[in-house]
């Protein structure tokens, strides 16, 4: 088990969104602007790293029968910390992410990594796994949001980039646009893999 591969697998080989197809609820909901996507990505990455580290630290003392409730308590604690800190220091982001900040608790990537990785592996590897998966999630959200914000709103990071004659494809920043963009990306990555394996 190499450290580098534990970290890098989250980007492509086991990318939570494009390969594991996990955590789609926040992916679809907050990828309508690059700011939201990166805000959500950073928040989820923090929770993922912290919950992975704590779960790994206590993995020997946690009885098998109640591991899921304990993991949930650990995750919910860090999500609440993120929620409070964001409300105090980044109120605009907190408002635009809205209900999706507390909903990080039920983001299946986080519980998934606790159960599948951190509960069985040493602390440092769990940290790398959390960091890699979190950045992979952020990366996926960001590229989806770049397409959606640029074509759907004519801007990136809120800065208008398109010429005035550009008519934004409003559909893309609405919910159907999330499904369309994600679907096309999934298809594209599957096509890449199929081509490489052929």
């Amino acid at each position: 088990m190499s450290m580098m591969s534990e970290f890098s697998k989250g980007f492509y080989k086991e990318n939570p969104v494009f390969k594991l197809v996990l955590g789609l609820c926040p992916t679809l909901a907050v990828s309508n602007s690059v700011q939201n996507a990166i805000g959500m990505g950073v928040a989820a990455t923090f929770v993922l790293i912290m919950s992975n580290v704590i779960v790994s630290l206590i993995r020997k003392g946690v009885p098998k029968k109640i591991r899921i409730p304990i993991y949930i308590v650990v995750i919910a604690t860090f999500v609440t910390i993120v929620d409070l800190v964001m409300a105090g220091f980044a109120p605009a982001l907190h408002k635009s992410l809205g209900i999706f900040v507390p909903l990080i608790v039920v983001n299946c990537i986080i519980l998934g990594r606790a159960e599948a990785f951190a509960g069985k592996n040493p602390v440092f590897y769990s940290f790398l796994d959390g960091l890699g998966m979190g950045l992979g999630f952020t990366f996926a959200l960001t590229i989806i949001s770049i397409v959606r914000e640029l074509l759907g709103n004519g801007s990136l990071w809120g800065v208008p980039l398109m010429p005035p004659s550009f008519e934004p494809v409003l559909l893309l920043i609405l919910p159907p646009g999330a499904f369309l963009t994600l679907g096309l990306f999934l298809g594209f990555f599957n096509w890449l893999d199929a081509k490489r394996d052929a």
């Binding site: 409730p69 919910a76 609440t80 220091f89 809205g98 709103n153």
Partner: protein, 203 residues
Amino acid sequence: MKEIFKLGGILLLVTALASGALSMVNKITKPKIEEQKRLVVERALIAALPTADPKAIEKVIENDEILYYIGYTTQEKTDIAGYAFVAKKAGYSSVIETMVGVDTTGKIIGIKVMEEKETPGLGTKIEEIKYGESAPWFQLQFINRYAGELAVDKDNGPIRSITGATISSRAVTNSIKEGLEQLEKRLGGFKKQANPTQTEQVS
């Protein structure tokens, strides 16, 4: 039986540690969050009372509760530009709080939704700003209206409710109507609406 107590004890320990950590974080972030809330109210007041001098808005407090705000046109505080109050009502999944400003006749001159956690994509549209517009279309419908007119289209009123979010639309509309009626009582009535055809010449 013994096992249940052991597992329960472990879970209790974990949750106790978690709540301890959270109360520490809460202590640090609380003053910041309150400061942010104060800023939200301040900005909402400016939006609700566009004709008032932002530095000449006073609170009217009774029993530690803010009843309403008075906005003056200048810092000398001679002419009242209007009154503002916070309208609150439970919507679909949260209490919706709206800052409402009226002129001295009771006509709405500005509103701003300050707090809501309605369903994303449906109820949250009470704050939706359409592409190319500068203010939320739902809230603009209230401008220049009086308490008596306020009702959503489903209740035969002029306010177009949001598709799929009648409860949120109705909560905002009715909270403003009720708030206005309460304000009118507290003020002992609004000034008569200026209506040239009915003014009598006092000579």
